[in-house]
Assembly symmetry: C2
Homo-oligomer: 446 residues x 2
């Protein structure tokens, strides 16, 4: 992949090189220290950073002037020799510069500096960093999180594909946002009033009758008001659906997936976590995870003096309290029918709850994902649609129709990518787990 | 991944099994032939189909009745023995049924049958198939295309990741849809008027200043009127951006990617193409691909008596005519500045055109993708923004600001997934290359 001006050398490759070979690095200046006859530049690229020594006696005078006057973030081309720096040949290399060219001088001023080692989670910095996300994406900690996301998503695809799941790219524009239309974001296209998907479950339910195992990784949208640390208006959603299965199956599948992802990240991403000053959370390494019923969860919270009412979602405070009782993620089994969408199966042994389970993270990071058995017969679905006031809505006709064509018991789960990252990296807010976050009531920018 | 009711046996696995082992298959009945004392069922699952012989003397009477009365698409559980069928032990296996259970009887009627071998590209069937896409996703040809898409996207991720690209999931909701706002789909969220992305280029331009090589696979939206065979309102877009490069670099990168994808698909997807009655188009196997300038393209079309005007896009008819002159995909180099967005570099040797190139498919399938050099200096960008009337629009301020922080020469390309599939599989319309197509002026359903 060599072209006319493309980079062929990266800082990471030359850091271990002590052969005094000539190198050429294209990159950015992230700092300098000027002495009388020598300038030290901190040069970085996507792979790391290295000191460049610009000696007045070893470069033309105009190039020394470039070094002396260079501004932070200026893009440069550096030629030189790699050598060990300092006493005792310590594990530190530098480039002794023989040629310095300015690619583009940075004229913009911003504070803190873009690549500075700052606390990106500091709430006082949040607005500033969000407003200039297009620049602070260069920050080493921001980069570490996004690189982690990249690696994690590779493992997710790998797992599904190795387990014979077919990737379905279900639509974003939909008449059926699954949950309450009022919390969906509406789009009007030539007077066709549709929504941005909240969940692609309906489409995957159709697809399992072809492929049996399908998954979908794509954006989901929620318009509801929320200013918690685990909600975004636009987030990425891992969804999967499997034909011929029940709740035990989907719990086992999810436990295998979570354990695989935790294990892979723990094995391959410790350097990323180190850049953040954290460790990968490995609480999810060893399934099976403990379970409590939703009913029991409510009781435990009430016993602890928490406000908790049957038929309401466990709030994040409640989930945090429960999490103190477990050292791993745990399942809350049997969410009430009153708060679950109509396609979910009712528990035959407890008609007030559904055949669902939510996996709640350890350490108080809250709900990670939910699993459910889906209704496969037309009459039972129609009954649940009536219960939810959707029986006369022609938009849902194709969902009911699916049940007339050999619909089989099927199961699914959905997990927010950013919540999973937040938990694994133990970072405060989901907004840091996505390149350009969209946050409720915050003007969309950049 | 064994659970309580999950499948452990698939038809593809038992087709080569002649060991007379007992098997259990969960699947769907796609046809039957009733004789007096014997019923032949065509049983299928996601992996294939097999004949099931239900002999009145070998199953309880109620199970024989199930077989006799079974409807198309009914879901069943079949136990039996696998055996070679017919004379001479030909390569044909069947299941001799010992137990037949109905999982869900299909009561719906639809014609043509869902899994029938029909011509899914027949224009007379198009509306019917689109209206019932959630059911016809089970059609073997539809499944073949979607399975191909799944495999292809795996290769796309593989190529980028092996070439050190970082996957960036850029936002869908954006104030900056890149092209003309009028052709973008608007969304109003709490009085914040934004758009669905048409292209994530701006975000990737920011990201390359961190990661140098980034890619994005996600949905893109176009609101413009088009009823061609190569436009969708919602399509999937492969975008990549690279720091430190020029047009020659991006052409070389794209040629390597296209050649890799064609080669992989030709090697691993011939069975998918066979299911469609086609071959994988391998015209893109061997780069470099020929180039003509946009100016020359216009001249050639005018010479051929075609209407073609400098400063207008080559229409699909024009691209088709040009394609007759090549046996491979070909580059049209230097698209006029008047029709390209402001971030693209102007050709210093021909100020009327940009440093861009479009790759046009062989065999008349039209434009596949476009590449461009992007402007990296603030003053030149400001000039181009004035030219496009965007200089006073504060929405674009962060795009200009990026040029003040050491912006480097960078390059990018964008390719529509469905167009690429259409060409490789030589199918008529992009709508068949996506699970649930969204088409201009067609009510969104299902």
């Amino acid at each position: 992949m060599e072209g006319k001006i493309m980079k062929s050398q990266f800082i990471v490759d030359i850091q271990s090189d002590i052969s005094n070979n000539p190198v050429t690095i294209l990159g950015w200046c992230k700092g300098k220290r000027c002495h009388k006859k020598i300038v030290f530049l901190d040069l970085c690229d996507s792979t790391g950073s290295i000191q460049v020594t610009v000696d007045q006696q070893k470069v033309p005078i105009d190039e020394f002037e470039i070094a002396r006057l260079i501004t932070c973030e200026s893009a440069v081309r550096v030629e030189g020799i790699v050598r060990r720096e300092g006493k005792n040949n310590q594990n530190q290399t530098e480039i002794l510069c023989s040629k310095l060219q300015l690619i583009n001088k940075a004229t913009g001023l911003i504070s803190p500096k873009l690549r500075e080692d700052i606390d990106i989670f500091n709430p006082h910095l949040a607005e500033h960093l969000l407003n200039h996300r297009s620049l602070y994406i260069r920050n080493p900690k921001v980069m570490a999180i996004l690189r982690f996301r990249h690696i994690l998503m590779g493992f997710v695809h790998q797992w599904f594909r190795e387990h014979q799941f077919i990737e379905i790219t279900a639509p974003i524009l939909t008449p059926l946002p699954l949950y309450d239309d009022r919390s969906a974001i509406e789009v009007n296209i030539h007077d066709d009033h549709v929504f941005l998907t909240q969940c692609v479950g309906f489409y995957l339910e159709a697809a399992v009758h072809a492929f049996e195992r399908v998954y979908n990784i794509g954006p989901s949208f929620r318009g509801e008001e929320s200013h918690s640390k685990r909600h975004l208006m636009e987030y990425w959603h891992i969804k999967a659906e499997i034909a011929f299965g029940n709740r035990e199956d989907i719990i086992a599948i999810v436990e295998e997936l979570v354990s695989f992802l935790v294990s892979q990240c723990a094995n391959f991403c410790q350097d990323v976590a180190k850049a953040l000053g954290t460790d990968i959370c490995i609480d999810g390494l060893t399934p099976p995870f403990p379970r409590i019923s939703y009913r029991e969860a409510i009781q435990r919270l009430q016993t602890a003096g928490q406000e908790a009412t049957f038929g309401k979602s466990l709030c994040s405070k409640g989930e945090g309290l429960l999490a103190q009782q477990f050292s791993t993620p745990f399942w809350v089994v049997g969410i009430p029918r009153s708060i679950e969408p109509f396609p979910y199966v009712i528990d035959p042994d407890d008609l007030e709850v559904t055949m669902t389970a939510d996996l709640v993270a350890s350490k108080g990071y809250g709900e990670l994902l939910g699993v459910a058995e889906k209704i496969h017969t037309s009459d039972i679905l129609a009954e649940r649609m009536r219960e939810k006031g959707k029986q006369d809505n022609p938009k849902y006709e194709w969902v009911r129709e699916l049940r007339e064509f050999g619909c089989v018991p099927h199961i699914g789960f959905g997990m927010g990518v950013e919540r999973f990252i937040r938990w694994l990296l133990q970072i405060p807010h989901v907004r840091d787990a996505i390149p350009f976050p969209r946050i409720f009531r915050r003007k969309i920018h950049p």
